[in-house]
Amino acid sequence: MVQVLSPVPGTFYTQASPEEPVYKAAGDAVSVGDTVGLIEVMKTFIEVKAEVAGTFTEYLVESGGAVTAGQPLAEIEA
């Protein structure tokens, strides 16, 4: 199990916009470089990318939740 960590503090989102589907759902295949989340920091949006390939397990933070730098955001079964 590999955790995806937040690169910066900010607000975490599991989808690109409220109308879009979540980036990943449980059981989805993940490739290196896939976007798994979005962090809003000071009105700038930064995509969070997977650094390992595997199967998506779950998000560890609710969409819209505040996160700190280094906080685990999601888990991937590598």
Partner: protein, 462 residues
């Protein structure tokens, strides 16, 4: 009724600025704050502070119902909105009206009228404020387009009458180009919007951004001259000046007088700014929009004219009449403001929230630093990256730029990356020093690698 209890519905440096103005007037201050802002400087400086919700702005600083309820519960008789957040939200003003609380700014109807681009353009035209010349309405045929273009002058911008945004916009420099491009634009408009109607407007290329500060009391209005804000990145101003050296006296007078005419025509109350595109080749200016609030860059105007604009807007909101006649307002010297943002200018301006581990603020005649920092302060990541504004005033533009360099070198913000190196580089750039730039200048300058981490601009630790 003079304001006695002022509720500040904003955060950051502008909240501190408003508290200082209110205290100088003997007004009791009540600061709103989100759960992420409990430690901010404005909370420490205010007489009272009220938590208005969680970190997310949508649930706190942008929550109309919650903000009005908090102001009411605090027995505020007025609310200052600052800039951004609810500052130009007519619904907020109407909710305050209903609660019997004064909004420090214009009426909801004025905000509605000036917030709509078409009605703002009509109001401007009616008051004699120049707007970008364009076709009266839709243009149906190519020959009509050529006739209109001959009247408004080339280059012309060809737009789809039905569309919005920038889609399908073409610029024709000559009649031959217009005759070639107009049919393409018609076909594209028909395909995209089911309507081949076109709209023509004079294309203002490489314009400067010039704006005029006005203040009204509902009957009378005055101007505090103009600002030059062409140095922009991603449509965000980074460096602002008062006045604009590129204007001659006749153009300046025309610009400022028509701005006052518009303010009087709409019975304007409070501080407002009319924004213009300025074509320095033809010396023509064109109204683009009006901002019905105090602006980030208001301090340069305060330094130029010696007026406290925030105090003046609180005074007129409380029913006071303007305390200065136009002839009392004198411009003196030259002022420059630079925005210190928590961003890394050497890493695509990546935001850098963090803790302020050290702070040294430059002091001296003609130097001012508006900010909300203190040693140990943790800058939250939820709001914009503006940390403070360094403002200098000198006897002329060259003296102001030289003082800016001295002041920047004396400013140390430790713990986070800031845009200080950008401003040091700009202040030493030949084009900036000779006032030779426009709104499309800074981004190509950055893209060409003009900002390098040399000792001259990174001498400090920030």
């Amino acid at each position: 009724m003079a304001i006695k209890r002022l509720f500040i519905a904003n955060r950051g440096e502008i909240a501190v600025r408003i508290i200082r103005a209110a205290k100088a007037m003997g007004v009791h201050t009540i600061q709103a704050y989100s759960e992420a802002d409990a430690d901010m400087l404005a909370v420490r400086l205010a007489d009272e502070a009220v938590c208005i919700g969680p970190a997310q702005a949508a649930l706190s600083y942008l929550n109309v119902e919650g903000m009005v309820a908090a102001a009411k519960a605090a027995h505020a008789d007025a609310v200052h909105p600052g800039y951004g957040f609810l500052a130009e939200n007519a619904g907020f003003v109407r909710a305050l009206d209903a609660a019997g609380i004064i909004f420090v700014g214009p009426s909801a109807d004025t905000i509605d009228a000036m917030g709509d681009k078409v009605s703002a353009r009509q109001a401007a035209q009616a008051a004699g404020v120049p707007v970008v010349p364009g076709s009266k309405g839709r243009v149906e045929t190519i020959d009509d387009a050529v006739d209109v273009a001959a009247k408004i002058g080339y280059p012309v911008m060809i737009k789809a009458a039905a569309g919005g945004g920038g889609k399908g916009i073409r610029i024709a420099d000559t009649e031959a180009e217009l005759r070639k491009m107009a049919p393409q634009a018609q076909a594209e408009a028909k395909a995209s919007f089911g309507d081949g109607g076109l709209y023509l407007e004079r294309a203002i290329q490489s314009p400067r951004h010039i704006e005029v500060q006005i203040m009204g009391d509902g009957t009378n209005a005055v101007h505090y001259f103009e600002r030059e804000c062409s140095l922009q990145r991603r449509r965000q101003k980074v460096w602002e000046e008062a006045g604009a050296e590129c204007l001659d006296e006749a153009t300046r007078a025309h610009l400022c007088d028509t701005a006052v005419a518009l303010a009087k025509a709409v019975n304007y109350v409070g501080a407002g700014t009319l924004e213009y595109l300025y074509d320095s080749v033809t010396a023509n200016f064109y109204f683009i929009e009006m901002n019905t609030r105090i602006q980030v860059e208001h301090p340069v105007t305060e330094m130029l004219t010696g007026t406290d604009l925030v105090q003046e807007m609180i005074h007129v909101a409380g029913g006071g009449k303007l305390r200065q006649r136009q002839s009392d307002i004198i411009r003196s010297g030259h002022a420059i403001e630079v925005r210190l943002n928590a961003e890394d200018p050497f890493l695509q301006f990546m935001p850098c929230p963090g803790q302020i581990t050290g702070l040294r603020v430059p002091e001296g005649e003609g130097i001012r630093f508006d900010h909300f920092l203190y040693e140990g302060y943790q800058i939250p990541p939820f709001y914009d990256s503006l940390l403070g504004k360094l403002i200098v005033h000198g006897r002329d533009r060259q003296a102001a730029i030289d003082l800016l360099i001295t002041a920047l070198k004396g400013l140390e913000i430790e713990g986070v990356k800031t845009t200080k190196p950008l401003h040091l580089a700009l202040a030493q750039d030949a084009s900036v020093r000779s006032d030779d730039f426009h709104t499309q200048w800074l981004e190509p300058w950055l893209a060409s690698g003009n900002l390098k981490p040399t000792p001259e601009i990174t001498g400090g630790t920030s």
